[in-house]
């Protein structure tokens, strides 16, 4: 963009984020709205799982200013570059404004009535072959409505969030260790730890505000140590006290090496382990499952014994001294250690295993349950925890940590939803990779998914191995893809029906962030054109199914399953859009959902309490004076009201029903596609600071698009020299699944070691997921976007 254009933009776009942000920080006063006609309200940021809270300034029906919320505990007024521009995502020029149907290959405008009717009829043709694919960007009420429609209404469990590609392995790690999902600690650990270990986690790029929160302690003279365990040098490495560069996949061996040293040095926390832990391993390594079998300490000790620093140094490439340093830190009872991770551990063909192992070393060393001692997974989406994990919009789950396979859980939901017994199907649906594989397989060849409704995500760019899992849909005439989105995307390119959606503060919402914090906001501006709320679409489709006579759309009293009433008790037909805003449907759905969170002690705050705060961390429990108190440290008596007095630590959802957490042994196993002669490089993919996910929102913000306009491949200078590649040269990157032309970036933002490449995935024009692998963790079913074999040549 030229200077002139840019200046004009800055003047006219009026996204005067800085004015508020900078004046707040400079003056310290919480920006009271000046007499400039701007009305301020609050909302969590639309982007990542950090869950920063922003102040949203609206004038004349338009978001004109953004500021970091000074009272938000998460970000304390600070935002990252994306956050300062979050309002800009609403105003891209190509917002989808009207429903469209593909006729003769072309998307043509139709009415909402037609669109809802077509969607409902497609579902009605084969309800058991219908699937819903959403994301961790669904608000809690949106996910809950979709969940109720498909599982409670259609007796069908084919519902998945893109969180399957993101957080599923963290879930299986938490459940198989503690018996219940989500971190016990919270961001407060970053304020208290002595050592922060980042397990393949580039926090300053992906969760920058959290990293600032931690690192600012150093600026204040506190003695804190940052350990960057990674497979390439990143922005974060520059701040690390110790950079430990390991061979991809060998994190499994490194974690085991820490356990081996704790035992060999007799430095494990015997009191903690004897009181609170048990040992576990997979029964059959060729068929690992979620729960495994109990083993005793001797067996565990024997199995980790081979992971000596010397041996693990060979596997991982880490010097023995670095492995011993990790052993020293975990062995020192005075050192408070927090571990964080995100996609590096979760997108892994042995993802559940590495999650378990990192929990295991924290338990074995007793570095758990006090401020500063915690193994904490970070999420990449604003409501991966709140919606995907807590509402359970997964093919095997029901709301509140319940499972479709458990008769008592189905019964509880049927009762809560007033459905006839047996309505909910007991068989889990297809997980994400399988769902899209079946959708892209001809019906005659067993492709048993026929219609998919996609909401708030972009699988046409974010699925791995896109040729196989998405593009193969083209030409399959009986397959029908319905996509609700805000902009044209790689997914709408193949959509048969496109539904224009309201975005962020164009609707009410509730998100749940990485640290169990539930955050609420109200609609602040009107969506453009005919764009409407996703939750309305779900209810309208359900109502049309009801009208078409689908029996599942009625509860056992014959009422519509989405029956809402006004204060006087009269039913409000919210499926008629002009009546939709008569009541707060979000609130009604949230109130309906909230009691379901009590079973696993994930008590959410009441809506009225939530709206007064910048988020509260569950369990949020009512006090004797009627106030509600959040919980920062779960399972710890000093903070968690559900721990029995005198127990100190109690894992009250233990898989062994004895209050114990499981310390797992899982071996190091090689990756299924290691580099070889033909494809000699490791290829890793990921995000960049300026863009979020597939870039559909951030690429519409001129400042962010201008900052990083396209993706690239990072390569080591020696590898580049050998291949005759110069900085900025066009190169052809290839894997067994396809090839892609990109520009090379040598000594760029990230610096991969020799034999390693990195490519961001936000670029819609150069889609790296055409090349990635769909091999996945056998337990979480989450694919490995971080490793596959590749080759590169000058174009």
């Amino acid at each position: 963009m030229s200077t002139l254009e840019r200046r004009t933009f800055l003047k006219t776009s009026a996204m005067a984020a800085a004015t508020a942000a900078v004046s707040q920080r400079a003056g310290g006063a919480a920006a009271a709205p000046a007499s400039d006609g701007i009305h301020w309200d609050k909302a969590p940021c639309r982007f990542c799982g950090t869950g920063c809270h922003v102040k949203v300034g609206v004038r004349d029906g338009k978001v004109v200013a953004i500021a970091g919320h000074p009272d938000a505990e998460v970000n304390k007024g600070l935002l990252c570059v994306k956050g300062y521009h979050v309002g800009g995502i609403l105003y891209g020029e190509d917002r989808l404004k009207h429903p469209m149907l593909r006729r003769n290959g072309v998307l043509e405008r139709i009415s909402w009535d037609e669109a809802i009717d077509i969607a409902a009829r497609k579902i009605m043709e084969a309800p058991e072959r219908f699937a819903i694919y959403g994301s961790g960007q669904w608000t809690i009420p949106e996910g809950y409505a979709a969940q109720k429609l498909i599982k409670g209404g259609l007796s069908n469990n084919h519902i998945e969030p893109n969180a399957r590609l993101c957080m599923a392995s963290a879930v299986t790690g938490f459940i198989s260790t503690y018996g219940v999902d989500e971190p016990a600690g919270c961001y407060d650990d970053l304020d208290a730890c002595d050592v922060l270990i980042l397990w393949g986690n580039n926090m300053s790029e992906m969760h920058p505000v959290l990293f600032s929160r931690f690192y600012d302690r150093k600026s204040r003279g506190e003695k804190i140590t940052l350990i960057d365990l990674g497979t390439r040098r990143t922005r974060t490495t520059e701040f690390a006290d110790h950079y430990m560069e390991f061979r991809p996949q060998s994190d499994l061996a490194i974690a085991n090496c820490i356990a081996q040293q704790l035992i060999e040095r007799d430095a494990w926390d015997k009191e903690f382990v004897e009181k609170h832990c048990a040992f576990r391993a997979d029964a059959d390594l060729t068929k690992p499952d979620l729960m495994g079998v109990a083993i005793d300490f001797e067996n565990y000790k024997q199995r980790v014994a081979e992971y000596t620093p010397e041996k693990v140094s060979e596997i991982s490439g880490l010097p023995v001294e670095q492995l011993r340093l990790l052993g020293d830190l975990f062995a020192d009872p005075k050192v408070k250690i927090t571990s964080t991770w995100c996609m590096g551990m979760n997108q892994h063909t042995r993802a559940t295993a590495i999650n378990r192992l990192v929990h295991g070393i924290h338990l074995l060393s007793g570095k758990f349950g006090s401020p500063g001692n915690a193994p904490t997974s970070l999420t990449g989406q604003p409501s991966a925890c709140g919606t995907a994990r807590e509402v359970g919009t997964l093919c095997h789950a029901l709301p509140g940590g319940r499972l479709v396979a458990k008769p008592e859980h189905r019964e509880q939901c049927e009762k809560h939803w007033n459905l006839p017994a047996g309505r909910i199907n007991a068989t889990p649906g297809h997980h994400t990779v399988l769902m899209w594989e079946k959708f892209c397989t001809p019906t005659a060849e067993g492709g048993d998914i026929r219609t998919i409704l996609v909401q708030v995500t972009n699988p046409g760019q974010s699925l791995p191995n896109l040729h196989k899992l998405f593009r193969a849909k083209k030409g399959l005439d009986d397959k029908f893809l319905i996509v609700s989105d805000v902009y044209p995307t790689a997914t709408t390119e193949l959509a048969d029906l496109v539904l224009p959606a309201a975005l962020w503060v164009e609707k009410n919402g509730v998100f749940g962030n990485s640290e169990r914090r539930t955050q609420q906001w109200f609609k602040q501006v009107e969506p453009p054109g005919e764009a409407r709320e996703d939750v309305w679409m779900t209810i309208a489709i359900a109502r049309r199914l009801y009208d078409l006579g689908h029996p599942g759309m009625k509860d056992k009293d014959g009422n519509f399953i989405f029956r809402f009433t006004d204060d006087a008790g009269n039913e409000v037909p919210v499926w008629e859009y002009d009546r939709f805003h008569e009541i707060n449907v979000d609130r009604a759905l949230y109130d309906d959902y909230r009691p379901l969170t009590f079973l696993k002690h994930k008590h959410l705050a009441p809506y009225d309490v939530l709206k007064e705060h910048t988020g509260l961390r569950w369990p949020v429990v009512e006090q004797s004076d009627g106030s509600f108190r959040e919980t920062r440290f779960r399972f710890s008596e000093f903070d968690d009201p559900f721990v029995k007095k005198g127990n100190g630590i109690e894992f009250y959802h233990s898989t062994t029903n004895d209050g114990r957490a499981q310390i797992w042994f899982c071996p190091y196993e090689a990756h299924p596609e290691e580099p070889d002669e033909e494809f000699p490089f490791w290829l890793c993919t990921g995000r960049v600071l300026e863009h979020w996910h597939t870039g559909t929102m951030t690429m519409r913000v001129p400042q962010l698009r201008g900052a990083v306009p396209n993706n690239y491949v990072e390569i080591h200078p020696d590898d580049a020299r050998e291949a005759g590649i110069g900085n900025g040269d066009k190169v052809v990157l290839a894997t067994r699944r396809g090839e892609l032309e990109l520009s090379a970036w040598i000594n760029g933002r990230g610096r991969p070691p020799r034999g390693s490449l990195f490519v961001p995935f936000f670029d819609q024009i150069r889609q790296i997921n055409l090349l990635t692998l769909d091999a996945h963790c056998p337990i979480s079913k989450e694919p490995d976007y971080k490793k596959c074999a590749a080759r590169i040549r000058k174009a």
Partner: protein, 125 residues
């Protein structure tokens, strides 16, 4: 609020913010005046200096070594800057943090900022 208070978190930033005298951006010329100008990064507006993270100006700068990054914070090397304005055009900060100033100091621009970036130059002509 537990742990780190907002005041603590921004103590460093606030200190700097208070020292700096607010100043309006210079009347930026529309096109590069080819070598007569010098880029300046105002820490007050720069995301990297303000406790967030950013490295776009140094990454996109076509002149090797003209923008140096230390501990995540960019600084213009006046000896290498050609005044090409790329850093200004790509700066994603909410208020553009890059200003182009005349290489030769003139009235109103001889404050601390110029001193910092041009230690080898005299304050006045």
């Amino acid at each position: 609020m537990s742990g780190v208070s907002r005041r603590d978190m921004f103590r460093v930033l606030l200190g700097r913010g208070r020292e700096e005298v607010p100043q309006a951006p210079p009347a930026a010329p529309v096109a590069s005046s080819g070598g007569d100008e010098l880029a300046l990064i105002l820490d007050r507006f720069c995301l990297a200096w303000q406790g967030s993270f950013c490295s776009v100006c140094s990454e996109r700068c076509p002149e090797p070594g003209a923008i140096v990054v230390e501990q995540g914070k960019p600084r213009v090397d006046p000896g290498k800057c050609t005044g090409c304005r790329v850093c200004h055009d790509v700066c994603p900060a909410p208020r553009n943090a890059v200003f182009l100033v005349a290489r030769k100091a003139r009235g109103g621009m001889i404050g601390k900022t110029v001193d910092e970036t041009r230690p080898e130059e005299p304050d006045h002509e």
